[in-house]
């Protein structure tokens, strides 16, 4: 799940700051835009390039724009860019290009030549990330930190990618530039799904402003018989799963469903124990995450990454486990939360 950012109150400068990470992502995306424009066999190179250009813009110029013209105007142009991005993707104007693929024999001989060293950079990404997070998170010289103190994991991951790229450069005969070019194949195969999580965060924001949560609570109250403990538990668990499927994220569903069902009826109404209630409730939400294309990072992106013909196949494989666990959660919750 995408964890909410751990908000430390430290205000400090850092070399790998979140702003610099966004700039880096922006440069990577813009590099891909140029490569797309150079792709002569691309069937939709202008609209695909525009799609990624609008996206990369937000990373490259977003923070600068806030400094220059203020938050209000910046959010407006970003907002309009987002709508343009959705329209480009929605009308099928974003597609794969053409890529130079080495032959199978070439790949085999390279793999044989380089050997198990090929694994090293891939393994370095997680190892360096964890080591940096655990050991180097507070590294600083005269109050200038290496890692952004509010985003230590993300900064560590960025450093790890850099280290892995350099090591890969040494072991293979390919340069970091070639790595960037090659990554266009992967980014294109993910396509619009790469942007869905941010779009859902945006929808969640609109729901909060529009008080959708309150409306859901009112709606839920129409269907509840406050005396039926078992049905309340079922409603809470299944509601968590369903609302998570709509929002793509259990964190977005949790406050709404817990305030609407669990808190008034189960905790206050029947004296349910809060700790197991919320723990199992959140896990019921995760069952929903496994069953929805809205959780693009977990379900749709991997299908693209693995080149699956059916982009819902990961979800289909997960559904039996998810439903079994949802049922287990319901009975487990019913069995443990009531003390009397």
């Amino acid at each position: 799940m995408s964890a909410p950012v751990n908000e430390n109150t430290v205000n400090s400068t850092a070399i790998i700051s979140i702003e610099n990470i966004y700039l880096l992502i922006g440069f990577v995306v813009m590099f891909l835009v140029v490569k797309t424009l150079q792709d002569k066999q691309h069937p939709q190179k202008y609209t695909t390039a525009l799609f990624w250009f609008l996206f990369g813009n937000v990373f490259l110029f977003g923070d600068l724009s806030i400094k220059l013209i203020g938050e209000s105007l910046t959010y407006q142009w970003v907002g309009f860019s987002v709508i343009a991005i959705a329209l480009l993707a929605g009308f099928g104007k974003v597609s794969m290009g053409s890529y130079h693929q080495p032959s199978a024999e070439q790949l085999e001989s390279d793999a044989k030549r380089i050997g198990n060293k090929l694994f090293v950079p891939a393994v370095l990404i997680p190892v360096v990330t964890v080591v940096c997070t655990l050991l180097l998170s507070n590294l600083n010289i005269a109050e200038v930190y290496l890692f952004d103190q509010k985003h230590v994991t993300l900064a560590s991951l960025t450093l790890a990618c850099g280290v892995a790229l350099i090591v890969a450069w040494r072991f293979t005969s390919g340069s970091p530039f070639q790595a960037l070019s090659e990554s266009r194949r992967l980014v294109d195969s993910i396509g619009w799904a790469a942007i869905l999580p941010q779009m859902l965060a945006m929808l969640g924001g609109v729901f909060i402003v529009a008080n959708t949560g309150t409306a859901i609570q009112d709606l839920v109250k129409l269907f509840i018989s406050p005396d039926n403990r078992f049905m309340l538990v079922v409603l809470y668990c299944v509601g968590m799963a369903l609302f998570t499927m709509i929002m793509g994220n259990a964190f977005a569903a949790f406050p709404v469903m817990t305030a609407g069902v669990a808190l008034p009826f189960l905790i206050e109404g029947h004296g349910a124990a809060a700790a197991p209630l919320v723990a199992i409730g959140m896990y019921s939400g995760y069952c929903g995450t496994l069953m929805t294309p809205m959780a693009a990072n977990f379900n749709i992106v991997p299908a693209a990454l693995l080149d699956l013909k059916d982009k819902y196949q990961v979800i289909k494989v997960q559904i039996p486990t998810a439903i079994a666990l949802l049922i287990i959660n319901i009975f487990l919750m019913y069995g443990v939360i009531f003390n009397d």
């Binding site: 992502i25 959010y75 993300l154 890969a168 790595a179 529009a210 959708t212 700790a275």
Partner: protein, 242 residues
């Protein structure tokens, strides 16, 4: 109870209907946002600003784009081929055994808070999927595309399920802190994150049992699917001869 305002719910309806009609999800989500904003009489420019602000503030979600160049260059020099060869040299490495082992290691490490130790882009695409495909090829010979896809999808599912149901045991993880903060905000005292983490354990164990049970039956399923595929091919070949 009778002055229920349904207008803010219109976005949910748009999402459900949009998905049922198979529109592009980006379009559906944007339309849902616009519809909700308009339904509750938000000023249009303010609505666009909300779009922009939330989109900007969730940019960290795109950080996986930084991993892709590394994976891309390694694949360009035969990473997947190497993973297959490597597995081929390990005796007794079957698809199911590799997936089960990965599941256990991933769930345990997630329970210890090591969430970024693996992931779809970092480990499933470059390492796990090629390894299990390699193992399946070892056992069954060349695989048709639908079976390859099924095995790859299982690799992705293992990563998701293991990390989801492991991570809430780790008390410093976002979800546990979110639940803790929610309870405190709503005036429920005397609960520590540790209690919430402990109550995540039964479901975590259930996830382990349920999924390992499914994986245990998966090897036989692959065998059946391949037998089916082969008999289909023989039939087709006979049909072509006669």
């Amino acid at each position: 109870m009778f002055d229920l305002n349904y207008m803010p719910l219109i976005g949910i309806l748009v999402v459900v209907v949009g998905f049922a009609l198979k529109f592009n999800p980006l379009l559906v989500v944007t339309a849902a946002g616009l519809a909700t904003g308009i339904a509750v009489d938000m000023d249009f420019i303010a609505l666009i600003e909300t779009f922009g602000e939330k989109f900007m503030n969730s940019r960290q979600l795109a950080s996986f784009l930084l991993i892709l160049p590394v994976i891309a260059i390694l694949e360009r020099y035969g990473l997947q081929q190497r993973a297959k060869t490597w597995i081929a040299n390990i005796k007794g490495a079957t698809t199911t055994r590799i997936l089960s082992m990965y599941f256990v290691v991933r769930e345990c490490s997630a329970a210890l808070g090591l969430l970024s130790l693996a992931g779809q882009a970092q480990t499933v695409r470059p390492l796990l999927a090629p390894m299990v495909l390699g193992a399946a090829t070892n056992t069954h010979g060349d695989l048709p595309k639908p079976i390859k896809d099924l095995i790859s999808a299982h690799a992705a599912a293992c990563d998701n399920i293991a990390v989801f149901f492991g991570e809430d045991i780790f008390i410093a993880f976002g979800a546990v802190l979110l639940m803790d903060a929610f309870l405190k905000e709503n005036g429920i005292a005397g609960i520590e994150p540790l209690h919430i983490g402990l109550w995540a354990i039964p479901t975590a164990i259930a996830a382990l049992i349920v999924h390992l049970f499914r994986l245990a039956r998966f090897e036989a399923k692959i065998r059946n699917l391949i037998a089916e595929h082969k008999s289909q091919q023989t039939k087709n070949a006979e049909g072509a001869l006669s």
